[in-house]
């Protein structure tokens, strides 16, 4: 599904990124990369800097220190190329509640310059994958939380991005809805080679072969595999490992 050049070695590369609000460091020399066909979980307690990091990747604002590359394009210098390879699901619902599912998705395809025929084809493809195609004519307001999220995931993939950013997408959802979203995204990684950066603080959303980044107080405390985390922290569960990394400073 992805038009991302498989030759690329990284989908997202962040180097030495720092950002402060009014003198207070929100991100401190953050650096990591997300490889193609890899699901990277960004784990961090509230206030760790996850949302700031996402705002910088999506260029809602700029950082003066460090660099962000999306599929080889510098976010600050080559913004448009960089953003065209990015799909985003934000923490808050960003759908227009008074419009139908289809109208919301058509708005997105228009913003990404897709023609009517292509757009309809892509919309059908993504909605069918999530069993939502039959509901395309319904107003978004009438959908439940889980279904709204599915529509947002479908929307983020319409322009076939190489990297999908998810900012705590399962917050407030019931267990079956959460599970189905977690499964769907992991399937996209495995079967379609999508790269994913998933911010969460819910440990049960992590699969054993996911990559992990633990962010705490704006600093990276760990990056690597799940096994590696357990080894490094000498713990038996991700939860224990995570707690150890984020509580060592008495939090």
């Amino acid at each position: 599904m992805s038009d991302f050049d498989k030759q690329q070695t990284v989908a997202l590369e962040i180097d030495d990124l720092s950002f402060s609000y009014a003198g207070k460091k929100a991100l401190d020399k953050v650096g990591f990369s997300v490889k193609p066909a890899e699901c990277t979980i960004l784990l961090g307690p509230n206030g760790a800097g996850k949302s700031t990091l996402f705002s910088l990747i999506t260029r809602l604002y700029d950082s003066h220190e460090g660099q962000i590359n999306l599929c080889g394009f510098d976010v600050k210098q080559q913004t448009r190329q960089a953003l065209s390879s990015l799909g985003v699901v934000f923490q808050q619902t960003t759908l227009d509640l008074d419009l139908t599912v289809m109208q919301n998705l058509r708005y997105h395809t228009a913003l990404h310059g897709l023609g009517k025929k292509d757009a309809n084809m892509r919309i059908q493809e993504e909605l069918e994958r999530l069993n939502m195609y039959d509901r395309r004519k319904e107003k978004v307001r009438l959908l439940n939380g889980g279904h709204k999220r599915r529509v947002e995931i479908a929307r983020a993939l319409l322009h076939q991005p190489a990297l999908l950013l998810l900012d705590e997408p399962t917050i407030g959802l019931d267990v079956p809805s959460r599970q189905s979203i977690v499964e769907h995204v992991h399937r996209l990684v495995k079967e379609h080679g999508l790269s994913v950066l998933w911010a969460t603080h819910l440990i049960d959303e992590i699969y054993p072969d996911d990559q992990l980044i633990v962010l705490h107080k704006g600093q990276i405390k760990y990056k690597g595999s799940v096994d590696g985390l357990l080894k490094t922290t000498e713990t038996t569960t991700i939860n224990q490992g995570f707690k150890q990394l984020t509580q060592e400073e008495g939090i």
């Binding site: 809602l60 960089a82 419009l99 997105h108």
Partner: protein
């Protein structure tokens, strides 16, 4: 990246705004009721107390209702400009603004498209208002209804750009009520919408100065002259310049390196 992408995105933004407007019937009705109250009640009541000399573009004595109609057209656009900026602040708080901002197009273009969408809605409102006013007996030469269109586009763009500019500097929705009071009311009352400049000069010189420098006055005059088939060069230049200045500041306000987040102290 090609022209087709720009074209599709712009239509997407305009289409969404128009569709939302058509669906929100209360917004449509309230946008119409406001100027109609001024026309049917305020102007009718004021008719006897305010005498008007013959001033261009009018060639005869006119009723007060006739005088204030162009001012009310501009008022519709002023409210619309502020309302669309209100919706942008709302969108930003709610996050849907982010969907727009992460699409791979230049920000100035996205803002311009938003602006055009807002202007289209305001022009629709103005023409419905004019239709009702016509039934009430306020008529202009038929060409006036055509000539006024480009004037409405420019005036709407200027007021919309002012709205964009304000939205880029307002951090939260709550602050907006203040802006309504500090922008809409002074702009409207200190303008030629309700009374001609020479009448203002009689009562207060400084008010006269403020009104003549108020870009809203110039937008009103541009519309007034166009409605009677005439071109007011000064008002046109003034409105156009104000539009360019407001738009530049608005685009800077939405610049990720200089804009809203940076003012929160971000670095």
């Amino acid at each position: 990246m090609n022209m087709l992408h720009f074209w599709r995105a712009m239509w997407g933004i305009i289409g969404r705004e128009l569709w939302r407007f058509v669906r929100q019937k209360e917004r449509f009705v309230s946008a119409l009721v406001r100027p109609l109250v001024w026309l049917f009640i305020f102007a009718a009541g004021f008719r006897s107390t305010l005498g008007l000399a013959i001033i261009p573009p009018y060639e005869t004595y006119i009723l007060y209702e006739v005088y204030i109609t162009p001012g009310l057209m501009a008022m519709i656009q002023l409210f619309n400009g502020m309302q669309s900026s209100l919706s942008m602040v709302y969108d930003r708080e709610m996050g849907s603004m982010r969907i727009l901002m992460v699409c791979p197009l230049p920000r100035w273009f996205l803002l311009l498209s938003k602006l055009i969408a807002g202007v289209s809605v305001s022009i629709l409102q103005v023409y419905v208002f004019l239709l009702i006013a016509w039934f009430y007996g306020i008529e202009a030469p038929w060409q006036g209804y055509l000539y006024v269109l480009p004037a409405l586009i420019l005036a709407g763009a200027m007021l919309g750009a002012l709205g964009l500019l304000l939205s880029s500097f307002i951090k939260q929705l709550e602050n907006f009520a203040g802006v309504m009071n500090f922008v809409i009311f002074p702009m409207f009352f200190m303008s030629t919408a309700l009374y001609p400049l020479w009448r203002m000069k009689e009562s207060s010189t400084w008010l006269h100065y403020l009104a003549s420098f108020n870009p809203f006055s110039q937008a009103v005059e541009l519309i007034r002259f166009a409605f009677y088939g005439q071109f007011n060069q000064y008002a046109f230049t003034y409105t156009l310049s104000a539009f360019i200045i407001f738009m530049i500041i608005a685009v800077l306000g939405y610049n990720p390196s200089k804009g809203m987040m940076m003012k929160k102290g971000g670095r």
